[in-house]
Symmetry: C2
Subunit: 290 residues, 2 copies
């Protein structure tokens, strides 16, 4: 098995590390990043928050820009950030930023040329957590979060697998991709033109037809100055689905905030505390948060 | 006067903004970034921390990676990040990453072809603060900080102009550039081979020959796993100078930390609190720091 440590940076008393590994599910080498809080170095096995990034991102955007590590260090939570698609010269790609490499959309592609590599749904759900739980001092308590395309991925994974995640959150998710330009383009390519196959990857449709007993608590933050809000994101569809199904969704709208990591950084602390509560972590006393 | 707003992002209740302006001192257009905390929008004039970045950086590295804005928002402090050199096709450059554009070293160059544009010392000391204090709701209380080449710049500016800055701090500064590969290369190019002219831009030599009455309190953090520590940074020279002159320098060494922004993010909160004390800002109560 290929499993190579690419970088290590001490950060807030813990460690940020990047790894390359062979993915059988994606049929290529993949890079991911993990933040291990100080508690993990002290021999504890800590829970994991998986973070799914948006279009064009890699594992680096969240780890460098979200200001999440100081909160994770205090709470005793590991953070894992996968890449946003399979990668490499042998992997199908497209000239657009919103299809192909950097734009895996967290689906299992069924259409050529994408089906050979593009199985990000299975990768994030099964292969990556199994690897992480084998190689690092973490336990099997998982939560999941993400931004934009990654917010879509996080919501879909949690709604379809409520026993696998203690909580889910999202920033500016593509909440109803069958009704967005990005989603329709990606789903047509990866899944084909028959829209019946799209529903399994649409958080609003999944929530509306929700049949699982277990409900994963959900927190969604949306900036009101987000350029993509009306055409791509459609949080109102998710909110309506939650109302219809009485789903435990808290959707918050924030005046003036846009689609950038400045928005994510501004509220990531509240997201990590939300996940910490559902993962059974004790928040430190206020005085220790300086 | 050219003064153009390039971007605005709401962040922690305040605003991150980038501007382009015509610099007379540098004889080219320049970009800088400012973070205005919520207090500035409430009609207060807030003090400013100037941040000088390291080799290859622009205004963006600190603003995106340092996790400083949440602390500045709580303290009521503006942050200003200039670029690291003059820029543009008409501006002299070099193939090396450590000379020319992205490597201005915060000096006033006296040699061709550099002397036409490379006056970053005067730009950071005079032109930029005058512009910032004219255009934004800030007062004339200033502190200064920086990383690596920017740590060198911050220390030199504060040591030579103790009435202009209330406090100075640095991460991994090039503390004794006349004794570093980077410093000798840059000073030879910008200032000429006569090393007598270099002393005015070497923090350790300046501190050893310190003749100013006013002493600007200084905080320096250095990671012990920093790849550049022994060849380029030389914090021991600064420490020795402080001992000889009884200078108020606190130099801290941190096991395991490297030269990256993960190190900066880990301790930027303590730096901002250090500056806040010297700028006369009241730290919020611990309970409000969640």
């Amino acid at each position: 098995m290929t499993f190579e440590n690419l970088s290590s940076n001490k950060s807030f008393g813990g460690w940020h590390k990047q790894y390359r590994h062979r993915s059988d599910v994606l049929n290529c080498d993949m890079r991911f990043a993990i933040y291990l809080p100080p508690q993990a170095a002290d021999g504890q096995r800590v829970p994991v928050l998986y973070w799914l990034s948006g279009l064009t991102c890699t594992d680096e955007n969240f780890m460098q820009k979200a200001a999440a590590q100081q909160i994770a260090a205090r709470l005793g939570m590991a953070l894992v950030a996968p890449d946003t698609s399979p990668r490499g010269e042998a992997v199908a790609d497209d000239e657009g930023y919103d299809l192909g490499q950097g734009a895996g959309f967290y689906v299992n592609a069924s259409r050529d040329p994408w089906s050979r590599h593009y199985h990000m749904y299975d990768y994030v759900l099964d292969e990556l957590p199994a690897l992480v739980e084998e190689m690092f001092p973490v336990n099997d308590k998982r939560s999941i979060s993400g931004h934009s395309m990654g917010g879509h991925g996080a919501l879909v994974l949690a709604l379809r697998n409520p026993r696998r995640f203690h909580s889910v959150s999202a920033f500016s998710p593509i909440a109803n991709p069958v009704d967005s330009t990005w989603g329709r383009k990606a789903f047509t390519a990866y899944l084909g033109e028959d829209t019946a196959g799209w529903e399994a990857y649409d958080a609003s449709l999944l929530m509306r037809s929700f049949a699982n007993e277990a409900q994963v608590p959900a927190l969604v933050d949306q900036g009101q100055a987000d350029n993509f809000l009306s055409e791509q994101l459609k949080p109102e569809a998710l909110q309506m689905a939650a109302l219809v199904r009485n789903y435990p969704l808290q959707l918050r709208r924030h005046d003036g905030y846009d689609h950038s990591y400045f928005f994510i950084a501004s509220f990531i602390g509240e997201h990590l505390q939300f996940h910490a509560r559902h993962l059974g972590l004790q928040a430190p006393a206020p005085g220790s948060w300086s």
